[in-house]
C-alpha cells in the first residue's frame, strides 16, 4: 500500500515536469530492473493472474484494461488506462504457459506514467520455498533522446519509476492472490 502510494506520487511529479521532444528516440544506455516477490500460493494459482495478459488490473492505479488477441504472441495487445487518465499500450511478444513466462513490450506510453521508451519486460512464475516466486525483469531507456537530459528525464529517474511500478505491482499482486480463497 505504501509502495502503491509512492508510485502514485512519482507519477504526479513526472506529470508536472517538462516533456521531452515528441520523438521516438531515447537515451543511449539501456537500463535493467529486476524485481522479485515471494507469494504464499501454488505457482499455478499465481500464473492464472500473471498469465492473463488482458488483465493488468493488479497494478495499482489501473482504472481499466482493454485489448484483444487473448494471450497470442504478436497478436495480443492491451490498452491500460490509469485513474490519472494516462495510457499505456502493450504488445505481447512471447507466451510460454509451460514455463509460466511471458514477454511484452510497451508500444506507446504517456511520459507522465513513466519517463521511459523502448521498454520490454519478462514476467516469470517459479516454484519457491513458500509457494511461488514472481520475477519481473525489464529493459528500457530514458525517454529523453539526447546527451543532457532535464532533471526529470535522467536514467536515474527512469529506473526509479520502473522500480516503483514493479514493486507496487508485485506487492499488490501478492496481496490480491494471498487474500483470495
Amino acid at each position: 500500500m505504501r509502495r502503491a502510494a509512492c508510485f502514485a506520487v512519482a507519477m504526479i511529479a513526472v506529470a508536472a515536469a517538462l516533456a521531452p521532444p515528441a520523438s521516438r528516440g531515447h537515451g543511449a544506455t539501456p537500463q535493467k530492473v529486476v524485481e522479485t516477490i515471494d507469494i504464499a500460493a501454488p505457482p499455478a494459482k499465481v500464473w492464472a493472474v500473471v498469465g492473463d495478459f488482458q488483465n493488468f488490473g493488479w497494478l495499482p492505479g489501473v482504472a481499466k484494461t482493454e485489448g484483444d488477441g487473448g494471450n497470442a504472441p504478436e497478436q495480443a495487445r492491451r490498452r491500460t488506462t490509469f485513474t490519472s487518465g494516462a495510457i499505456i499500450e502493450d504488445r505481447l511478444v512471447q507466451y510460454d504457459a509451460g514455463a509460466m513466462s511471458l514477454r511484452y513490450l510497451i508500444e506507446k506510453i504517456d511520459f507522465k506514467v513513466m519517463p521511459i521508451n523502448n521498454f520490454s519486460a519478462t514476467i516469470t512464475v517459479r516454484p519457491g520455498a513458500g509457494g511461488a516466486i514472481v520475477e519481473w525483469k525489464s529493459r528500457f531507456y530514458r525517454a529523453f533522446p539526447g546527451g543532457n537530459p532535464p532533471d526529470d528525464y535522467t536514467d536515474e529517474k527512469a529506473v526509479a519509476a520502473v522500480t516503483a511500478m514493479c514493486r507496487s505491482g508485485l506487492a499488490a499482486m501478492k496481496a490480491q492472490i494471498e487474500a483470495a480463497p
Partner: protein, 313 residues
Amino acid sequence: MSRLVVTFCALALFATPAGADEAFVTNQGSDDLTIIDATTMTPLATLPIGGKPAGVAVSADGARAYVTSPEGKFLSVIDAAARRVLKKIPVGDGPLGVAVSPDGRRVYVADTYGKRLFEIDPETGATRSLAVGAMCSGVAVAPDGKTALVADRDDNALSVIDLAAFARVAVIPVGRHPYGVTIDAAGTRAYTANVESNDVSVVDLDARKMIASAPVGNHPYTSALAQGRLFVTNQYEGSVSVLDAATLKPLGKIRVGDYPETIAASRDGATLYVANWFSNELWSIDAASLTVRAKAPTGDGPRAFGAFLRPVN
C-alpha cells in the same frame, strides 16, 4: 561426459594456431571493459572506462582498441596488449558506433545524438565530421578502406561515406531501424539488422541499393558472417538466426543468453561470440554445428557493439 571433455580439450589444443585471440567486451552498466581469452573463455582483465561504454573496435593489427562512451561523450584509446587506457578524446554529443580503418590510422565514430560521423586521428586526436542521419548507430569500414557505412537508425537508411573525399555520397533505404551493419570480406555486400522490421537487409555496395531482405527473429540487433552463413542476434527472443549468406535461406536458430546484442566471428570463421546483455555473459558458438561451446562471465550489461575481437599473433 568424459568424451565431451576430451573433445573440448582437443579443440582447445588444435584450434589456436595463431595464439589466443581476445574479446574486448564493453560493459555499459558496470562502466568497464572485460578482456576475455577467446579460446579458453576465461576473463583476463577488467579496465575501468567510465561514461557508460558501448561501442568498441579493435585495430586489425591488434595493437589498439577504441571504446565509445555515449554518456561521457568521449572515445578511449586503449593499448590492447598492455591493457591500459592511453587517452580519452572528446567526441560529439553521444558517440556510439565505432570502426577502424584497415591501416589503423583513422577511427570513425557515429555521434548518435549529433547526427554526425566523426573521423579521428588517434595519434594526434585531430577530428573532423560530416552530417549523417538520425540516431546513427553502427559503423563499418569496407576492407579496401575506401568506404564507410553508417546505420542511420531513425531514418531507416544506410549512409555511404567516400572516405578519401570525406563526403556522404549516397543514402540507401533499408528496413526499419537498422542498428548493426556488417560488410562481407569481398567488400561487395552489406547486411543491416533492422530492429523494428524484424529482418535483415542486403545491400549491393557497387549498385548502392538494397537487393534483398529476409525475416529473422524478434528485435534483431547485429550480424556476423562465417562459413558463408549470416548470424543475426534476436534481442527479444534470446536467439541467433542462421541464414545462408548468399540465398538468405534459413538454416536454423540457436538459443543463446538473455538479450543478445553484438555477435562477431573469429578470424578462421570457426567460432562466433555473442554478448548477452541481460545475463552478463559472452557465449561462444561453433559456426559449423551451431552448438554452444562455452560461456564466460562479463561485467554488467555487456554491449561490445562493434568489432570486439582482438587478433593475437
